[in-house]
C-alpha cells in the first residue's frame, strides 16, 4: 500500500491537510445537486480500488495523527469511551472483526496470528506488538473495545440488540459531529435520534431501524452523512463546544476557502457474531472548500446543495449563520453547467 502517514494536528495550529491523492479519494457525499434525508443504505462491499469504500476499515494518511488526537481527547475526558457491564462480549466481537479485517486488507501494516485463544497482534504504524488471550480482558492494557478502537480511525457505537430495538450501550466517541456518548449511553435508536429534524416525520427512523435489525453476519452495510466544520477539528463534541463553537465566528470572506471544511461521515454497520449486537463505526473525513472546489463537478454541486438546503437542516448542522459567506465563496465555482449523476469527481 505504501501509505505515508502524516504528522499533523487537528487542534491549536491545525496543520491537518489532505494530499492531492487523499482528495482524489475523498468521499464526496452528494450524488445529485440537492440533498434531503434518506435511508440511503447500500451493502458495504468493495467499490473502486483505492476508494474509501474498498476495505472494511479504511486506513489513510491521517491514521497515526488521528490516533494521537484520540489519545489526547481520552486523557482529558475518559468518559468518551464507555462500555456498560453487559457489553464486553460485543467488545471482543469488535476486536476480532477489526483485527481480522485489517490484517487481511493491510498485511504490510497489521498482522494477526492466532493459536486457539492465544493471539498475537502487530500494529506497525503505531508500534504495537501485543500477545494476549482472546476473551480474557486481564491480558490487555484496556478493555477489548477500548484497546482496538484506540488503534482504529473513526468513532464506534457498539449497540446491543434486544426488544426489537438497538441500544447505545458502549462506544468510543472522540471525533463526533456535536453529539455526546456520555449523554446518549443506554438510549435506544429513537431516543438518540430524537434531536434530528424532519427525518422522524418522514418515517425514516422506523425504516432505518427495521433495516439495521436485519443486518446479517458477513453482510455489512454503509451510508454517508455530512455536516460543516470550521477548522479541521475532529473533536466537535458538546463537551468542548465552548472551545470550538466560537471558532465559527472567525470565518471571513478571505479565509472561508481554507477554514470551512466539509465533514463527511462514512457510517458502516456490521453484525457482531458472538453477542448478536451491531457495531456502527462512524468515520470522519474532512476537506476544506478550497480543495473540494478543485474538482469542477464537486464545486458546482456543493454550491447548489448548500444553497437549496432547507433552513431546518442548515440550522441543525450548525452553519446557518455562515451560509451566506459560504455561498458567496462557492458561487464562483458554479457556472451553471450540468453535473453528471453520481459522487465520483471525473465521471
Amino acid at each position: 500500500m505504501g501509505i505515508e502517514f502524516k504528522k499533523e494536528t487537528f487542534r491549536g495550529d491545525y496543520t491537518f491537510s489532505n494530499s492531492p491523492e487523499a482528495m482524489k479519494r475523498f468521499p464526496f457525499p452528494f450524488d445529485k445537486d440537492s440533498y434531503m434525508y434518506a435511508v440511503n443504505m447500500e451493502p458495504h462491499t468493495p467499490v473502486r480500488e483505492g476508494s474509501v469504500y474498498y476495505n472494511s476499515f479504511d486506513v489513510d494518511e491521517h491514521y497515526v495523527s488521528e490516533m494521537a488526537d484520540r489519545a489526547m481527547v481520552l486523557d482529558e475526558d475518559p468518559l468518551r469511551c464507555q462500555s456498560l457491564p453487559h457489553m464486553e462480549l460485543h467488545g471482543w466481537d469488535l476486536l476480532e472483526l477489526i483485527m481480522v479485517e485489517k490484517a487481511k486488507d493491510y498485511p504490510d501494516l497489521f498482522q494477526l496470528t492466532r493459536d486457539g485463544d492465544k493471539w498475537h497482534w502487530v500494529n506497525k504504524p503505531l508500534g504495537i506488538d501485543d500477545k494476549f488471550t482472546f476473551m480474557d480482558a486481564s491480558t490487555l492494557p484496556y478493555g477489548p473495545m477500548e484497546y482496538i478502537t484506540r488503534q482504529t480511525q473513526g468513532d464506534f457505537c457498539v449497540l446491543d440488540q434486544r426488544e426489537d430495538n438497538l441500544w447505545m450501550d458502549a462506544g468510543m466517541v472522540t471525533t463526533q459531529a456535536d453529539w455526546s456518548l456520555d449523554f446518549d449511553i443506554g438510549m435506544n435508536f429513537f431516543e438518540w435520534h430524537a434531536p434530528v429534524p424532519l427525518a422522524h416525520e418522514k418515517g425514516i427512523f422506523v425504516r432505518a431501524l427495521k433495516f439495521l435489525l436485519n443486518i446479517q453476519q458477513g453482510a455489512p452495510a454503509r451510508r454517508l452523512n455530512w455536516t460543516m466544520t470550521v477548522n479541521p477539528l475532529l473533536d466537535t463534541s458538546p463537551e468542548n463546544y465552548h472551545k470550538w463553537g466560537i471558532q465559527k465566528t472567525t470565518l471571513t470572506p478571505e479565509n472561508v476557502g481554507k477554514k470551512q471544511h466539509l465533514r463527511v461521515e462514512l457510517q458502516t454497520f456490521f453484525r457482531l457474531p458472538r453477542s448478536n449486537g451491531l457495531v456502527f463505526p462512524i468515520r470522519c473525513y474532512l476537506a476544506c472548500l478550497e480543495d473540494i472546489t478543485k474538482f469542477p463537478k464537486w464545486g458546482r454541486r456543493l454550491h447548489r446543495v448548500i444553497r437549496d438546503l432547507p433552513e431546518e437542516l442548515a440550522t441543525y448542522k450548525g452553519f446557518i449563520d455562515n451560509r451566506p459567506m459560504i455561498l458567496e465563496y462557492l458561487s464562483q465555482f458554479d457556472d451553471g453547467a450540468e453535473t453528471s449523476p453520481g459522487v465520483w469527481p471525473e465521471d
Binding site: P85, H86, M87, L89, M135, D160, Q161, R162, E163, K210, L213, N214, Q216, Q217, G218, A219, P273, R274, S275, N276
Partner: protein, 320 residues
C-alpha cells in the same frame, strides 16, 4: 436481502431417538464456520424431489466451535415434508446449502439469571445458549425441560450429567408438569425467562408471566411457524408482471420463488419481518399467520408476510 449461504457437507447423521435425528455440517471449502451467538438458527435448503424447501433450524453446537454446525430435527409426519426429507433422504456425505447464522432468540446479556423453559424439540436453541453461558462462566441459568417420555427426551442425559444443579426434566407420561406459576414467583431481580416449545406452552408461559407482573422485556420466546397448508389461490406480482399459483401445500413465498422472482427472506417462520410485502389490490380475505405485523396492519389489508400467510378470494396483487 437474505442471509449469505454456505456450501456444506453432511458429515454425520445420528439417530437421537425415535423422532429426532442430529445432522452435522462442515464446509466443503475447508474454511471455518462463522461464529454465532446462542439461540441462532440456520436455514437449510432442500431439493425435495423438485420442490425447493428452506427450513430454519436452531444451531445446537457450541458457538465457539467453528469446525461444524449441528442441528436436531424432529420428524413431523403431518408436516409439509422438510423434516421428512431430512430424516429419510439426507445421509452423511451429501452436499447441501445452508445460510449464515441468524439470531432472533438471543440471550439478554444484561440478565443476572436466565430461566429457560423448553418443550420437546424446543430444547435446541437452549443447547447453544447454555454452551455460550457456561463457556463465559456466566453460568447462572436454570433449564426446565418438558418431554413426553424418557425415551423421547433428547439430550436429557447429557444435560443432567453436565449441569446436575441447573437442569430439571419433566416427563409427561409420569404426569410431571412444569409449575410455571411457582417458578415465576421465586425469581430474583434481573431474571430473564426464555421459552421455546409448542405454541400452547409458549402462550401458557407468556400468560402466566404477564399475570404475575413480569415486564415484557424480560420474557423471550421463539416459535417458528411452519407455513400452514390451505386452499390454493392465484396472485398477481405487479413488479415482475407475473401471475402465480400457490398450491395447497406451498407457501406464498415458495410460489413467488418458484416463479423465479427474487424475494427477501430470513426466518421463513413469520418472525423476522424480512419478507414483508405491500398489497396493491385485494378482493377477499387474508389468512395472516405471522407474529410480525401489528394487528392494525393485519386488518388494513395493505401488508402480508408471504412466508406463512395466505389468501382466500378473487384478486390479490402484490408489490413484488
Amino acid at each position: 436481502m437474505s442471509a449469505a449461504k454456505m456450501n456444506v457437507r453432511v458429515t454425520d447423521v445420528v439417530e437421537v431417538n425415535d423422532l429426532v435425528k442430529r445432522f452435522r455440517f462442515e464446509r466443503t471449502d475447508g474454511e471455518l464456520m462463522p461464529t454465532f451467538s446462542g439461540g441462532a438458527h440456520t436455514v437449510v435448503e432442500m431439493d425435495d424431489n423438485g420442490t425447493r424447501r428452506l427450513n430454519p433450524y436452531s444451531l445446537m453446537s457450541s458457538p465457539t466451535d467453528r469446525s461444524a454446525y449441528t442441528i436436531s430435527v424432529r420428524r413431523d409426519d403431518e408436516g409439509r415434508g422438510g423434516s421428512l426429507f431430512l430424516h429419510n433422504h439426507v445421509k452423511a456425505g451429501m452436499e447441501m446449502v445452508i445460510s449464515n447464522p441468524v439470531n432472533l432468540f438471543s440471550l439478554d446479556l444484561r440478565g443476572r439469571k436466565h430461566v429457560m423453559i423448553a418443550g420437546g424439540i424446543g430444547i435446541t436453541p437452549f443447547l447453544s445458549q447454555i454452551k455460550q453461558l457456561s463457556a463465559a462462566n456466566q453460568g447462572n441459568f436454570e433449564l426446565h425441560y418438558a418431554v413426553r417420555t424418557p425415551a423421547l427426551g433428547s439430550y436429557v442425559d447429557e444435560l443432567t450429567s453436565q449441569f446436575p444443579n441447573n437442569v430439571h426434566v419433566y416427563y409427561d407420561d409420569q404426569n410431571q408438569a412444569i409449575d410455571v406459576e411457582g417458578l415465576l414467583s421465586g425469581q430474583p431481580l434481573g431474571t430473564h425467562i426464555y421459552v421455546c416449545g409448542p405454541k400452547g406452552m409458549i402462550d401458557w408461559v407468556l400468560a402466566q408471566a404477564t399475570a404475575a407482573g413480569w415486564p415484557e422485556n424480560c420474557i423471550h420466546y421463539e416459535e417458528f411457524l411452519a407455513p400452514e397448508p390451505g386452499k390454493p389461490f392465484d396472485v398477481e406480482l405487479a413488479v415482475s408482471g407475473k401471475t402465480i399459483h400457490v398450491s395447497e401445500k406451498q407457501s406464498l413465498l415458495e410460489a413467488i420463488e418458484e416463479a423465479g422472482v427474487d424475494a427477501p427472506y430470513l426466518c421463513r417462520g413469520g418472525a423476522c419481518g424480512m419478507c414483508e410485502t405491500n398489497v396493491i389490490k385485494s378482493d377477499g380475505e387474508f389468512v395472516h399467520n405471522d407474529h410480525w405485523l401489528e394487528e392494525e396492519e393485519h386488518k388494513s389489508g395493505k401488508k402480508i408476510m408471504p412466508c406463512v400467510s395466505r389468501f382466500v378470494g378473487k384478486t390479490l396483487v402484490l408489490d413484488r
